[in-house]
């Protein structure tokens, strides 16, 4: 069977292209998305771009490494970013070189605060206070399904309009599925703008009643059921909130649509991040298909944490065979100076010889690498045109700029 070889994804080319203004990193949870976004941001900054990374809920130490000790919703400069030295590349003019010396800012998304800020920016103080105190607003802004995604998009829109950075890297919220990120803002917008909410918020007018009658359900019955299961207060709070909001800025849906359009605008690129595992790559597949459907520009797929071997020419089978040869040879003789073997409580198959251990580890790694290659090939078989970059697994958790820089350096170049 012919092996599916994907086109290479050249991350450097993407970040060096000044037309790239927004990079959206998406993918399912637990694949190293936040780290990838941070590494891309750092690399772009060190290659001369003025970058802001919007991150959501990063690992504590990663946040600290980027100088983000608090969640304050404001882009902060990340200290320790190296200035790019002048690079001499064919085709680059001296003017480009003069522009070098990038910067990196990073912020953690505080969704409630972002929501509050929208309200404060658009309403007079009295009305804003009234909305912020509304119980329905409070539950909506703190934990509504989709609010985090919505606010990430909102923040992206704000930063884009501010135009202080020439590259924005977005780390999408850790959602159940990668697709939530695309759907949630619209779902929330649709809901707030929805006919049912409107039916309940306007004093029941004829229109509403007539509409309900078509379905053979009395308006009273609907409100009755909702009142029973939710309580009258909840409905009243929701009504007050929506009415207040409505006069502020003509409908949430338009806002959601605006951010959605931003994602399709030229200058936006999506990077799908996955781990070399069936579930993560299945999600990546859905996402790639969905982006195509929406006409959103996909730059490619980054497969994180790929196991590679510097000794790949030694196959798993030969490695295991060599380990067996050593074991059978009785090369288990204790190294000089060690305690006598007998009674040491070690099981017989514990290798005393480092070589045996090393060979077994290598075989395991090769098997893992083969399995990872297999799932990656399955992805490429289904999406042969999607460029792919593999990032090797790091031995240790990344928690400083050096670690992020190492990841950036390991991005393959085309």
């Amino acid at each position: 069977m012919p092996r599916a070889i994907p086109p290479p994804l050249d991350v450097d080319r993407l970040i060096d292209d000044r037309r790239t203004r927004i990079i959206v990193c998406c993918g399912s949870g637990g694949v190293g998305k936040t780290t990838a976004a941070a590494a891309i941001g750092l690399r772009a900054a060190e290659r001369g771009r003025h970058v802001v990374v919007i991150t959501v809920d990063p690992a504590r130490r990663l946040a600290q490494s980027m100088g983000l000790s608090s969640l304050d919703n404001t882009p902060r400069p990340v200290p320790g970013v190296a200035r790019a030295g002048p690079r001499r590349e064919p085709g680059r003019s001296g003017q480009d070189e003069a522009a070098e010396g990038g910067s990196l800012h990073a912020m953690m998304l505080d969704m409630k605060r972002t929501f509050d800020e929208i309200v404060e920016a658009h309403a007079d103080p009295d009305r804003a206070a009234q909305i912020l105190a509304n119980p329905f607003y409070q539950s909506l802004s703190a934990g509504f399904a989709g609010t985090q995604e919505y606010m990430a998009m909102e923040k992206l829109g704000q930063l884009r309009r501010a135009d202080e950075w020439d590259l924005i890297v977005v780390d999408t919220p850790p959602s159940r599925s990668a697709l939530d990120f695309l759907d949630a803002p619209q779902r929330l917008g649709r809901f707030l703008d929805g006919r049912l909410l409107r039916l309940l918020t306007v004093p029941a007018k004829l229109g509403g009643r007539a509409y309900l009658r078509v379905l053979n359900v009395g308006f009273g019955m609907v409100t009755n059921v909702l009142t029973k299961i939710l309580g009258a207060q909840v409905l009243r709070d929701a009504q007050t909130f929506v009415t207040a909001l409505d006069t502020m800025f003509g409908g949430f849906r338009e806002r959601a649509d605006y951010t959605y359009q931003l994602l399709r605008a030229p200058g936006t690129s999506f990077l799908v991040i996955a781990a070399p595992e069936p579930d993560a790559l299945r999600e990546a597949s859905y996402f790639v298909e969905r982006l195509a459907l929406e006409g959103m520009p996909l730059a490619g797929l980054i497969i994180n944490r790929v196991h590679q071997s510097p000794a790949a020419r030694l196959s798993a089978a030969r490695s295991l065979a060599a380990a067996e040869t050593l074991q059978a040879d009785g090369r288990l003789a204790d190294p000089p100076g060690s305690e006598p073997r007998a009674g040491s409580g070690q099981s017989d198959d514990e290798p005393r010889s480092l070589a045996i251990a090393v060979l077994r580890l290598h075989a395991e790694r090769m098997q893992l690498a083969a399995k990872e290659r297999h799932v990656a090939e399955n992805f490429t078989a289904a999406h042969p045109l999607v460029p792919v970059a593999e990032v090797p697994a790091q031995a240790e958790d990344v928690h400083d700029l050096a670690g992020l820089r190492a990841i950036g350096e390991s991005f393959p170049t085309g």
Binding site: S28, S139, L215, V222, K228, L230, V234, A311, R352, A395
Partner: protein, 327 residues
Amino acid sequence: MRLHVVTGKGGTGKTTVAAALALALASGGKRVLLIEVEGRQGIAQVFDCPPLPYEERKVAVAPATATRPGGEVYALAADPEHALLEYLEMFYNLRHAGTALTKLGVVDFATTIAPGLRDVLLTGKAAEATRRREGGRHVYDAVVMDAPPTGRIGRFLNVTAEVSGLARVGPTRSHADTVQKVISSPETAVHFVTVLEEMPVQETLDGIAELAGLGDGGLQPGGIMINMVHPLVLSPGQLRTAASGSVDEGELALELKAAGLEDSRELAAALAAELVDHARTVTGERAQRRRLAAPGQPRYDLPMITGGIDLAGLYRIAAALRDQGAA
């Protein structure tokens, strides 16, 4: 223990472990219900069966062993819409109207406007199955819930507080109180699935700490399931030396040569680099393992299944859980 809530950070294998736990608990002639609540059809994928409806279905048998008879695992994909209709029928006899309400999007609306309602409907289903009796005995010996990830578990299980903004009296409230009673009971435990990496371990520790402040006097933490554990290949001394970056490449080359491998010097250098890498990973994992000891909950090591999880892999994880006394 009758209700097992299984949570964990995304990517740690929460659904797989929940399924394996259900199998382990079923062994010995028991009947266990496995419930998923996130609409992902994760259970169907794990058991390699068609998508599950809102209906309890037998999905697997726990194999009999020399000492224990087999058992049965049932599964249910719970969704708030069906759960709400069931609830309306139970309390208001509104089944027929329910269909119309679905068409209108009222159900969607209600669960959207009040996320707490959505959660109480799902936890309510698990509580109901846990309490269900027929002919004087429990229908299920145990119920396992594949719950939302650690980031959302507190809110999900804090039923009473979540619906406190809703009707203050009446059926929703009394339903929530019943559900909270089941979840807070000593017969319920919340298990955490993790791998030995910083983020999942941190979320596990945060999650266990959070449980104490939930419900009525805290929820009971259960086990910490450490998933994808690599077998130990190096002795402690070998591990220390290699992690410090020192490997005797000359010695290694000699042994490789003795094993009949060519270019042994070059190979030794490459394999030494691999060894250092491995030793650093394992050393990092050990540090994470020590952190997991702090809460004092039982810990269970689950084997790394290479080649993807299939039914056989699931049975192996179930056996590991049983052997270590988790079920």
